[in-house]
Symmetry: D2
Subunit: 253 residues, 4 copies
């Protein structure tokens, strides 16, 4: 049973929203912000199965209050130039909600976000080049729900190169591997579990190119939103438990 079976998923698309307001060539591609494009891609694919809203860096508490997160099933995250301006307090709040069961979809340059690095326990460093590569996204796990409904490979005509080595823990599911015109490869679609929460990192998407208008990329992100949605009905963070006597008999202490 997923949430989706009972009521629509409550999805919050978080965007840094800086490039779009400060760089004309980005604003041209994303006149309403990248978050608006990501939101519409999810709606296009999930329809009535999701209710999608947005939040951005400049809102009070970055739009991610305790009350709002408590009513959120899935959060998607895109950031790039302003990672450091995300408050540590909000990062800890999001962290706590992920461990409690809120799904998280991490996009592109958000590999370097505070929240992703906090959850991974590694640097999340990678190799990159912004030089007009073509990216091919190959499915290596064709049975994974996140890989349904897209061609093999997905073809992105222009995209920033992200290459190995990608300093993350070994992924639990490796779904996509990308190649670039320069010959580089990258584990572009990977998943993790942390506490009661599921995490999907997906690398395609850059402010310089219209990647979030790409039909197949929108489908993958929507698939990811459904997949990270917890099967649990309430956020419940793990806690330390002091046990009484066990189910078998225990001697006196």
């Amino acid at each position: 049973m997923t949430h989706a079976a009972h009521r629509p998923l409550r999805v919050v698309v978080w965007g840094e929203n800086w490039h779009e307001r400060n760089q004309p060539h980005v604003a041209e591609i994303y006149p309403d912000g990248m978050h608006a494009a990501i939101k519409s891609g999810i709606e296009e694919n999930l329809g009535e199965r999701a209710v999608v809203t947005t939040a951005v860096l400049d809102e009070p508490e970055h739009g991610l209050t305790e009350e709002r997160l408590a009513q959120t099933d899935v959060l998607t995250w895109w950031g790039h130039a302003r990672h450091d301006e995300v408050s540590d307090e909000v990062v800890e709040r999001v962290y706590r909600h992920v461990l409690g069961g809120m799904g998280l979809v991490v996009l592109h340059s958000a590999h370097w976000s505070k929240i992703f690095r906090r959850l991974m326990g590694t640097t999340c460093a990678l190799s990159w080049r912004n030089s007009d590569d073509r990216e091919l996204v190959w499915t290596v796990d064709p049975t994974h729900p996140i890989a349904q409904g897209v061609p093999h490979p997905i073809d992105i005509p222009k995209q920033e190169m992200y290459g190995e080595q990608f300093d993350v823990p070994p992924p639990e599911d490796l779904i996509f591997v990308s190649s670039f015109t320069g010959g580089e490869v990258f584990r572009s679609g990977i998943t993790y579990r942390r506490g009661s929460g599921k995490i999907f990192y997906f690398s395609p998407g850059d402010q310089e190119f219209p990647v979030y208008h790409h039909k197949d990329i929108r489908r993958v992100i929507a698939n990811g939103v459904e997949w990270v949605a917890s099967d649990r009905t309430a956020h419940t963070a793990p806690e330390v438990i002091h046990s009484g006597p066990g189910p078998f008999t225990v001697g006196e202490g």
Copy 2:
């Protein structure tokens, strides 16, 4: 090739060293401190393959200066009552060295240490009871180097119970599973990689019982020390790399 093939491993055994100095019944079991017992267990098993020293909480910088960590192949960590007194600066330093290739062996109540939680990205909570259980440590991966040379099961007559659920990421290697008199089970020997570093968590060991004098437990810890030692000759933390043109030809940007 491992370090051990070329020169002895440089091992630092870190201990909180509080119970031993403040609780007579602990001091009786570990008159020279738990760290001394852990050190002697490693020496007993590795002989000339390791040079083992110790460090404790009360030393300046907890005995873990930048210079010392740069000369350390493997660090073992035991803490319990004073996790909060470990400075954040030293935790970040150890974290950086682990990502750079220093091996880490995390023991018992150090599941709740700042450094382990930092590396895991989860709460590391678990269920526990201090009530005179017997613990049996079963090998589920008999081919793992860490499981060599010990009986199946290892029998610990008296031990604190640690039980599931244990809120850690799914381990990469699951080597040992324990059961307790109360019927509980625990994934008691597990491994992770973070950056260039390898991590082994091993749960047996409590200040109330002479577990670090137990022959088989000493062997497992020594095996773990050898296993987490990196195959790399120098600590090298991952970094972000801005690539030039790729090995294939890339068009102009």
Copy 3:
């Protein structure tokens, strides 16, 4: 989306059906056969989400014709005394359908079935004792869909002991670990993917005890049936593909 979202899952419960017809004490527990009890447990939990039928060893082709498997989403398998009488031809047929996307739930002594050993590539040997143990089934992955709706631990008053070492490949998901009165432990709920198919092995269940009448065990098996159901709409076995020119340009050979 799963099959269940669109139409009921088509489930076939396969049973060896030998003990029930030849051993009075088993027939007393399972007067209609163990397969009937397993079937009713799935129906009790999935209701209209599944259409469940049964097949047994003594039917022509063991009730598993090509036509029937082509119309099956999930197959559950229980066998014990007559593994060798399952024809190799039917085993290869089931194997082909699993790789093509049919889900498989393997129960208890079917760890030793031809089909499970064929899919694992190992002996699937284990340690056992039939001596009136109590089994506690602990959830180690509380977020897994298969673990929803059952207590921690599940308590089975009388059950055969299955213990480590269990010679299977390292599981992809480790969901349950059991302990027994004798202190043994066992990885009792584990999953694998093979080709397009998903596999769930669940160890509780023995002909000597009424385990398949146990409410929680019935829930886990029903959860497992839903989880192994492929997200793909048709069975499609992987094949070798001779590629034409790649998406980038390839030089003449």
Copy 4:
């Protein structure tokens, strides 16, 4: 401790040895057979740490008698055109020895060998094209012993393309990912454990190109030989064990 610490590894390089004797352009590249080139690459890297011999298809029992396998620590396997001529009896013998702790290195087109498919439980199908691609082999796990001592990427000027999807179980360690001139990607260096045995599959190497004369490829294969060598001193296949009373007390059955 590995075998290598105590005495040289006993390595058998198995070759089909058909192309080399029947196709002049292959014979020109490998005048003494591909197995001779693979052997010399291992010797070049391991020196006195290994004693390497060869065996080929046309020998009685394909050169793999029970006696010889019992004295073998690691077997490497290359086959292509004559997989079907390998007798099922010898395959079962090799299978048994791998489960008992003999290491196995599977090379290139041996993805389709009987022994690899037997151990994987999948079709091991993939996508391929023989059209003069360049292959780049990228290290994604820089800490793995098998990845030591080679550049990132390894550059193979001419090579057959092997592409995803590769129908194998999810690898335990993903060490290398390759890209090809056509833009395809492939998980080219992967590991598995089966029973007490370790398996390394490495895809570079084709009879049409001098890949086994390539310095870096020879190093990887030698690293793989050392890594798959079991830590156990004797081959011991898992067996079913009927246990007596457990370490805790068990009631009468």
